[in-house]
Amino acid sequence: MSDDEHSCGVHFGIFNIGGELPIQGAYRDICYQPVRDNIWTASEGIYRTIFLEGNKGCIAFDTFGTPGTAQAYQQAIGRVFPKKPIHTVVYSHEHLDHTGYAADLAPDAHIIAHDYANQVILGRKSDGQLAAHDTFLDERKAYDIDGCYFELIYPGLTHGDGNIAAYFPESKTVFMVDTVADGVGYTTLMDWHLTHYVPVMERFLSLDWDIWVPGHFWIITRPRFIEILDYWKRMFDFGQQAIIDGVDPHDWEGLNTYTDEKIGPLYSKEFRYYEYGAMNLSRYMQDYLTGGWGIEGNLKPTLGDL
């Protein structure tokens, strides 16, 4: 369906059904709070991001995932810093639920992204997702924009394409989306590159930080980051063992029964375990049944200190 054919009157992402798209325009209240120094965090309850106070304006990371939430995000930043417009947007990665609507957040802002993310954005041609003006391919690149210093780090493959962290060395803070967040993983670990995930995320332990701001839910500490990575490590053995034990990765009832018996005693108190423990297991099983997925899922992980 082309732009001309769509009647909803808001940016429609990649939806190709006609008619109204109520969720796209829906307004959501955004709450916000200071993190440390010039770093603020914003959330609508599920998604989380950060924005920075500069000398003359603001730097917003990501856009939220609908035109309505992007506009609410813009208004939230405007409420905290009413005289400081958003002049720069940094994309954490290319997925629409985080970076799909710069056209609604700050259409004239300068946009920074990793080259891999931008390649996908250019190919996708999603309505409302703007291409970056400034891309990079290096593992680590420092920016000093309007009095805000930060380093963007591409540690290797994790989730999506061109997924970068923002590191604030003076504030000992890292922001990274859809990687480590509290609790078990989201559903079947959508677009995760599982082979890479643990060793690449462990690279962040070579940096000096004590605050980790994830792309969902609440901020976590360094010890909690390590505990969560341990869950991901152990799931590799659980995934193999489930296959050996004859579990069908597509048998929803069987997956839940097995997960409750084998994994529940260790992890049932984790946030969202009962929603997603079985889905997490199914995804890990697939890594052994099918092999890693695509070129990204089979490259050798990047290792070593950042």
Binding site: R124, W293, G294
Partner: protein, 304 residues
Amino acid sequence: MPENRGLFTLDAAQAYLSAEPQMSTEQLSDRLYTVSDGQVRTIFLEGDSSVIAFDTFGTPGRARAYGKAVAAALPGKPIGTIIYSHDHLDHSGFAADLAPAAEIIADEMCARVIKLRQAEGQLQPTRVLAGERHELTIDGVELVLLNPGPTHGTGNLAAYFAQEKTFFSSDTILANARYGFMPDYHFCNFVCYMRGFLDLDWNRFVPGRYQITDRAGYEHGVDFIEAVMIECQHAFVNFVPIWAYEPMKAYCIDKLAERFGDLEGFEGHVGQMAIRIVHHYLMGGWGLEDTPEPRLLMANQISL
């Protein structure tokens, strides 16, 4: 002697890898056969002096059982050629246990993934095909291999047999609804590519899993995937909690049971399918494979 392990690292996997299931073989024409272990299905063909086998099944034991099924159907003819339908280990992971000396044909991108993966037992293709359509004659057998673009896995080759009016495509369309969480599917162009195969003249469809169906059954399967994609969008834009299994399952059953409730496994699987498919619209597709003009990111990082 330990078995080829694929990617398994646990020693306890040996028994799983060794087990040889009962295989069920059916002759579809003078030279075309299909074989299944009860879940995975593939085909093989009788050449003038050898056998052309598609895929290997997903463990060393299953590969050996496949080899025995071929030998029982076509005694005295060795497997001279293996054609990989795609890169996944559950279909093409164990040529080393099926026919280690065979010529192996695969799509170029499939071959790149296999080279990167280095799974124990999965042999590197010896003949690589680049492009959408390949008309081949192998040991007297004429066949057409087709890869219109990303559907499932990497470098997924379908096979068309004009004389038999038969079409084979692995892990794309099924004759039932048992798709689970639809691992490694690429949805942006999926329905378009799969419907495009209907331009060919065939009346029998052999899928990579479960039972064979006819042209109408295949069309019903394509319609089903398309309908789930549409209803997932309606669920999303109308505030169904797309992150939760039960509400998505209930929504899709309500909307789709009348048209597709006849598909075996519908109620047990449509919720899983919906969870996966709705995230296509939430996230925007996964990687360059899942864009309107698909390519592969980082493909230049591995040479053949």
